[in-house]
């Protein structure tokens, strides 16, 4: 009979810190917005990348490359770029030069003003763009 330890081999010791709260998909913030739009990690893709990075390095500042992220996620570099951009919606993610990124994973308090602004701005832009298409008024998109 397989034991739990065999089924679920322990991960290496990494500093998880506040990862539980950071990654919690059931937090108020995740529930407040549609799953692909918000959350402390910038939506579905950002959350997955945050999970992988925390598993590998813990909660920390990470220097990585698009190629490395692509390897970790099993995607191509274009998709990896999108994952990094998604994570960057809610966390400081800096593209230092071609293909090099610095990611600083941090806890965002539920109701964080900056995060809410990011989400609300995105929603506003989508509504404006939709209205523009409906009315044919290009000014409505601005």
């Amino acid at each position: 009979m397989l034991t739990d330890s065999l089924l679920f081999p322990p991960l290496p010791t990494v500093e998880l810190g506040g990862a539980r709260e950071f990654l919690d998909p059931a937090s108020d913030l995740w529930g407040k917005y549609p799953p692909y739009e918000g959350g402390p990690c910038g939506g579905h893709r950002g959350w997955r990348l945050a999970m992988v990075l925390v598993a590998m390095y813990g909660m920390s500042t990470i220097e990585t490359t698009t190629d490395e992220v692509a390897g970790l996620l099993g995607t191509n570099t274009s998709q990896a770029n999108n994952y990094l951009l998604a994570l960057g919606k809610a966390n400081p993610v800096v593209k230092t030069s071609r293909g090099e990124w610095t990611v600083h994973l941090q806890n965002n308090d539920v109701g964080d003003t900056r995060m809410e602004h990011t989400v609300m701005n995105a929603a506003h832009q989508r509504r404006a763009a939709w209205k523009s298409r409906l009315t044919g008024n290009k000014d409505a998109a601005t």
Binding site: L2, D4, L6, L7, F8, P9, P10, L11, P12, T13, V14, L16, A19, R20, L23, D24, P25, A26, W30, G31, P34, P35, G39, H44, R45, W47, R48, M51, V52, V54, A55, M56, Y57, L72, L73, G74, T75
Partner: protein, 118 residues
Amino acid sequence: MGTNVLKIALGASLDSSIETSAIRLTLGLHDEIKKRLAIPNREGPRTEAFIAHEYLEHFTGLDHRTMPKAAALAEKRIGLVIRSGDGLKNRLMYGTSHGQAQGWGVDRLASLPAIADR
């Protein structure tokens, strides 16, 4: 217990063949299941907790269209939750010894140098 579930979810996240929604479902249900397990029943401590499907969206942030597939994947690949049905409604049952857990098992973790060295 919380850390264990988090670590299981983190381990699963390293396998790109396990969809994100399944991991989110497993991790998102943890706190609620933990609360329900803490309430003993007539026979003694609970070993299983049931959550009706209609509450899953609230606890996990996943929408109702994603949920059935995510639950099936979580059951098959991660194993902490299993689905059951009594003919009236489907439920999720929380356990610790189910699932294949092969896709992100020992071989997968050992193949990652950054993890193996830590």
